[in-house]
């Protein structure tokens, strides 16, 4: 662990990447569904303020285009930018993502899917991961669980395995407003907090999906306060 922290610090110093950013695993919680013919443009951001007890403030932004491939696969390509300590947003890398729907919604005890991701960060650092997506509906409530295992490699860091867990339980109150509670856990993240989700129909198969959440860190490696938000324009 100490060696990994040192390695990341070295990469950070060499490439201008904040050491903490690597371990900040707060992100969107995925659902195991794919809609054929679906296309979307997405913006996501996540970060923590300056007084979050882990150093300078950080904001990470992602802009993506995604589309369904056939009936069961969805591919998405992200450009990633990062801003630290109030500095201007700078390109940080890219991500490619492939989501697969394994089971028909409602067919079994729970719905299942798979997620594959490949990331390249500034400084020639790579991460590949694969994960299982699960969703269980219980009346007006729905719980999504994401479990993933990844490997990180590249210049200046040791090849190592990383695990992530994200759990979201949401109340399906109305299409526009669904309150939720989320838990995010990874090597350097343990955070819990409320989130809200919703979707606005714009007609003619266009929709705007939004998500936002604020989280409290549950250990001293996690920012005391952090946040995430996202918008998806589906068409």
């Amino acid at each position: 662990m100490k060696f990994r922290a040192c390695a990341i610090f070295c990469v950070a110093m060499a490439g201008g990447v904040p050491a903490w950013a690597d371990g900040f695993a707060l992100d969107r919680v995925y659902h195991p569904y794919v809609e054929p013919m679906e296309r979307e443009i997405e913006w996501r951001m996540r970060g923590y303020p300056a007084d979050a007890d882990v150093g300078e403030r950080l904001q990470m932004h992602q802009i993506a285009y995604g589309q369904a491939i056939g009936e069961r696969w969805f591919a998405e390509l992200y450009a990633v930018g990062q801003s630290e300590a109030g500095a201007a947003l700078e390109p940080e890398g890219w991500e490619a993502e492939l989501r697969h729907q394994l089971t028909e919604q409602g067919e079994f005890w729970a719905d299942w899917g798979l997620l594959f991701e490949l990331e390249r960060e500034h400084g020639d650092v790579w991460e590949a991961s694969s994960g299982v997506l699960l969703e269980k509906e219980h009346g007006q409530w729905s719980t999504a669980v994401n479990v993933s295992l990844g490997v990180e490699w590249g210049r200046g860091i040791d090849r190592e395995l990383e695990t992530r867990l994200a759990v979201q339980t949401r109340y399906r109150r109305s299409p526009l407003f669904e309150p939720a509670i989320e838990l995010h856990a990874a090597e350097d993240t343990l955070a819990v907090g409320p989130a809200v989700l919703g979707e606005l129909r714009l007609g003619n198969r266009r929709s705007l999906h939004w998500e936002a959440g604020v989280y409290a860190g549950l250990d001293d490696r996690t920012p005391g306060r952090s946040f995430r938000a996202g918008l998806e324009f589906g068409f």
Partner: protein
């Protein structure tokens, strides 16, 4: 005799499990759902076979049923719904929402 009845009962039970949930059909034709009101048993999971007889795609969508499913033109798709509490659950076709409307009635 009792043993024989037991074996017969087990086979019937296994057949029922293998047969899966009861199936209902819904057809999309001229951007309308047929039937527009579909009665299904309450508290039972059902398999809904949606047949799109139109040449254009349509989406079976219902927030109340928590389902969204696109069915390309001339194709079929399966939507599992329930178990539902007794009541009415509206659905619509997102491609032609003005005409393609209906409801599932669980009773």
């Amino acid at each position: 005799m009792r043993k024989l009845l037991g074996v017969f009962g087990a086979i019937c039970g296994a057949t029922a499990v293998l047969a899966g949930p009861p199936e209902f059909q819904l057809e999309i034709r001229d951007h309308l759902f047929f039937p527009a009101e579909l009665v299904v048993p309450a508290n039972t999971k059902v398999r809904l076979l949606v047949i799109n007889a139109d040449p254009t795609a349509e989406e079976f969508e219902s927030y109340e049923l928590n389902r969204e499913k696109i069915i390309p033109g001339g194709r079929k798709a399966v939507v599992f719904i329930g178990p539902l509490a007794p009541g009415e659950y509206p659905f619509f076709g997102e491609f032609f929402p003005k005409t393609a409307q209906g409801k599932v009635i669980a009773r």
